[in-house]
Amino acid sequence: MSPTNRTVVVTGIGATTPLGGDAASTWEALVAGTSGVSLLEQDWAADLPVRIAAQIAVEPGEIIPRPQARKLDRSAQFALIAAQEAWKDAGFTAKAGVDSSMNPDRLGAVIASGIGGVTTLLDQYDVLKEKGVRRVSPHTVPMLMPNSPAANVGIELGARAGVHTPVSACASGAEAIGYAIEMIRTGRADVVVAGGTEAAIHPLPIAAFGNMMAMSKNNDDPQGASRPYDAGRDGFVLGEGAGVIVLESEEHAKARGARIYAEAVGQGISADAHHITQPEPSGNGIAHALQNLLDNTDLKPAEIVHVNAHATSTPQGDVAEIKALRKVFGDDADHMAISATKSMTGHLLGGAGGVETVASILALVKRTAPPTINLENLDPEVNADIVSGEARALPEGRIAALNDSFGFGGHNVVLAFRTV
């Protein structure tokens, strides 16, 4: 391998989600088909047309010491928890430099969110209006800036090779991981901590997404509200949390004797250039991203046995993705077990790509595709093998999984992982 085309592997995973406070508990709940959605009991939710969300299972305040937590937006708290889990899981015992197996100059951090520190911004605006200028927190700016989760993870772990925050709405988390893969492949870093985070369960984002008619209003049945591919789906359910992985050059991982979960084969990226919120309905934009993935890597369609779909439970989006998979893979799509884990986690926006990458990697490691819950009447336009009802075993041998993420703005990001 030339230094600019190095093999990249995954050596650590971490997550904090509506299903569990770490990757292991999240995975268990996914395989069991558990919904993380519940009714919002907060007073502020009483008058909203949408009163359901997938709230975090373990409050970050139970883990991060209070003096540190009060300087971090909730999205940065989630990111820090997931990053520390992934870092430890990768076998590092302290921050880079203190742990002598990691040179800080060769460590990067790429953590994204879709909308940044939105609750900090809105809460501090309330403080400004209700209590006056003097009471606005001096920590407001470093808390609300979208690069804050990445910067805080970088500081905590000692990442000096570069800290980045790509922003592409609901594709942000996946784009961050794609960016990290390239940092390693091209030799800018040996190890990169990468993922996505989001904390937007607040009346303003819920009112705004609700007025776009993008969200499910199924307040009477919270756990049945997120139903990708079901003919009765009526929009996504907002979720919160973070998923972070440790990516590493294969040579660096082997040199320190790290456990390798999977190879990060690469990515396919495209843009629809069609509409600011609607997906290109024929799936051409997504197909372009899938084709780029095949053209830019040695991935073979026959290896792909599992797709963690973007599938947010919106009428148009779910179908466009399936059309694209058919367009690019043809009959090969028949052997791809497709899972829509948002049926359980809700839609974590910029956190989705991170959490679903963790799920995709564990699907390969455990050779198990999680179920898509709430799928009772398959939309006739969905011509694909959806894993519904119960988890399904994946085949032996060398297998690969895709994680699709698409965002408002027409951003399409497909990541590919493969067993080693």
């Binding site: 010491p65 209070r66 003096p67 300087k71 003097r134 009471r135 927190s137 001096p138 920590h139 470093p142």
Partner: protein, 82 residues
């Protein structure tokens, strides 16, 4: 009624505990906010605003830079409280 020196130190100790997590018994007159009590320049603004409310005193931004230790802040508050 104006606060005594003892009451001001105790009040500052509670504020520093809330903001920086330092045990109240470690907040003493000779301690530096930055070097000893983990209060950086941003958190110092929080300490000042909380002290203003608690002791009914105004501490203009240009005076904050002179408040290096708990003793400096205590003396300032004693002198300027309403």
């Amino acid at each position: 009624m104006a606060a005594t020196q003892e009451e001001i130190v105790a009040g500052l100790a509670e504020i520093v505990n809330e903001i920086a997590g330092i045990p109240v018994e470690d907040v003493k007159l000779d301690k530096s906010f930055t070097d000893d009590l983990d209060v950086d320049s941003l958190s110092m603004v929080e300490v000042v605003v909380a002290a203003e409310e608690r002791f009914d005193v105004k501490i203009p931004d240009e005076d904050v830079k002179n408040l290096k230790t708990v003793g400096d802040a205590t003396e300032y508050i004693l002198k300027h409280q309403a």
